[in-house]
Subunit: 331 residues, 2 copies
DNA sequence: TAAATTTATCAAAGCGCTTTGGATATTGTC
DNA sequence: GACAATATCCAAAGCGCTTTGATAAATTTA
């Protein structure tokens, strides 16, 4: 039996009779024959691989824990379509070089861009490389067309802040992610818009930017509590920071909700799921795993049809009422 | 100029003169020429890829957050050696099928096995596949030879429990990872040995097993606190669970340290680093990122020399004194 | 029944590299 | 200056598949 027939039988082409296909399949199963990935990829000209380049800040050496869940969402889709997932952690300054190299070597058929900045260079660069990609998040200052999946950050944080104001809070802090990253900027914008619409003016010190770690949540919360007029409510960008904030409140013997209200963005991380009937935290919730799934779908569609017009998918975070928000205590 | 010369110049073979090598390198740089990955892999017979198959429990659908840091450690080493990292999240029951397929298709040159169980089937199976691998953790009930990198779990938890006993605690709970997973079993053994050596007998109810999430830490802590004779100290397997335990204590208006002592295992996760001069938690600490690095090194060595005898690397967790442990309060 | 289609199979080319086994040019030795 | 040794380069084979174009067999049509 010829190679051709075997190949066609295994790959489901119609030019082979059902009878011979069965024979081939049985023989393949019997000898545990699977076409060699490398040869197959060379012959087809496809790598059947999606690249996820996660930038690791040299300074902090930390890996954003939301990747685990994002990738869990994406990975399932890739597997369904026969794609592999290539994960590469690169020092952030090298990131574009890495894309260029992946493209030149054609190691991957597409990439997902994580954590875009407000003025993200990679988008234009990737467009010029002609490598299909999807951005998880958006980049405010670009005119490029590109695929993206994002949460409505501005609106979510506007609503969160608005809720606190409606409860009677007028001194509200924001403990945000690092400055310049697009989602953080949009969240600040939403927060500021709510303040402005309610004629509240607050000093810059009420907004902090840092990597979203527990220690930073703690540290920044202490800084806010040390202000001459400490906030009665805090909005934050991550449930991990929220835990740090909680620790700061404990240390000052302040009670979450009663003394200081907190609203957090909640990515619905699998190991931090706020599952109680009344959630612990009032939160703007949007599943990052779902975002992973959607990004994967969009990327696979783009790879299948490269002439496809770029698409943006905007997810709306739910505002979930928990027990961490109450009217401010009278002083 | 011939293909041969170019290939040799680019790959640093000595059969080419420095002069021509320069010419080739310049020309390559000028045209951004990089050898095609797929062709290269077919020609060399190596995939230059390491597979990490992370099993995702169907029931819980959760991704162990320590992977992010483990992989961060490993990834840097792979990159140095020119290897890619293939990440695949597979439903746990399919895991061996996945290895078999990777081997048959020779998609990867080696794999890392995560979260082995006490009686881990995959080890014998991988040995029979002749695919180089390293286990992150160990498997107690196997006679197979294999590469592994593990923390001294038994000893760490023995020491942690011993410390609590020395402080005067006699009723000590253990909030552990899921039953049957090797590290959890060893930790329970260490805990039980310390109790036994000090002639302390406790009912089975003082040990709980579950996925290491914040909600589970909370839930299991409440269960312990609801026992007729609630523990005055708790040992736990994860800093994420420790946060859940803390929440349970808050709810019962118990103070961490003063009312209930807690020792946690601390993987030194980058977003949960306990950096204070006096750490918040007394902990058995061992960097999972370092484990990732060591695993990668070991795997790369094994790939380079497959006849190499399997090696085990045992890391000793430090016992870090923090402020979450104090002598028990008098009742 | 012969010619025209359709179906089932195959031989060979090609994917873009690395590597083997020369061939040629250069240098060194007596 | 003749020969050996070495340095430099190259043509061609091969990696294990998919795919193209052709052929043979089976079926249909006239």
């Amino acid at each position: 039996m010829s190679q051709t027939t075997v190949s066609r039988a295994l790959n489901g082409f119609p030019e082979v009779s059902e009878k011979t296909r069965q024979v081939v399949l049985e023989a393949a199963a019997k000898h545990n024959y699977k076409p060699n990935t490398r040869a197959r990829r060379l012959a087809t000209g496809k790598s059947m691989t999606i690249g996820h380049l996660v930038s690791v800040s040299k300074e902090y050496e930390l890996v954003n824990p939301i990747f685990a869940d994002f990738i869990a969402g994406a990975s399932a889709r890739y597997a369904q379509s026969g794609y592999d997932l290539l994960l590469s952690l690169v020092p952030d300054e090298d990131e574009f070089t890495s894309y260029k190299e992946l493209a030149a070597r054609s190691t991957v058929d597409g990439v997902v861009v994580h954590t875009p900045r407000v003025d993200e260079q990679r988008i234009a660069q990737l467009n010029s490389l002609n490598l299909p990609f999807v951005v998880h998040g958006r980049s405010s200052n670009t005119l490029e067309k590109y695929n993206w999946v994002d949460v409505n950050n501005e609106r979510s944080f506007f609503r969160a802040t608005q809720l606190l104001i409606e409860l009677g809070h007028t001194t509200i802090g924001l403990i945000n992610g690092i400055a310049g990253v697009d989602f953080a900027v949009r969240r600040t914008q939403g927060y500021l818009r709510a303040l402005k619409e309610n004629n509240i003016e607050l000093a810059d010190a009420y907004v902090t930017h840092s990597e979203m770690t527990e220690p930073n949540g703690y540290k920044n919360a202490l800084a806010l509590l040390d202000l001459p007029d400490p906030p009665t409510a805090i909005v934050t960008s991550s449930i991990i920071m929220a835990h740090g904030i909680k620790r700061a409140l404990d240390e000052r013997e302040l009670k979450l909700g009663r003394d200081v209200s907190v609203i957090t963005h909640d990515d619905d991380l699998s190991y931090f799921r706020d599952t109680a009937a009344v959630p612990v935290y009032t939160a703007t919730r949007s599943s990052v795993r779902e975002a992973g799934r959607l990004s994967a779908d969009l990327l696979l569609k783009t790879i299948a049809d490269p002439s496809r017009d770029p698409e943006g998918i905007l997810l709306d975070a739910e505002l979930i009422l928990g027990s961490s928000t109450k009217p401010p205590r009278l002083r």
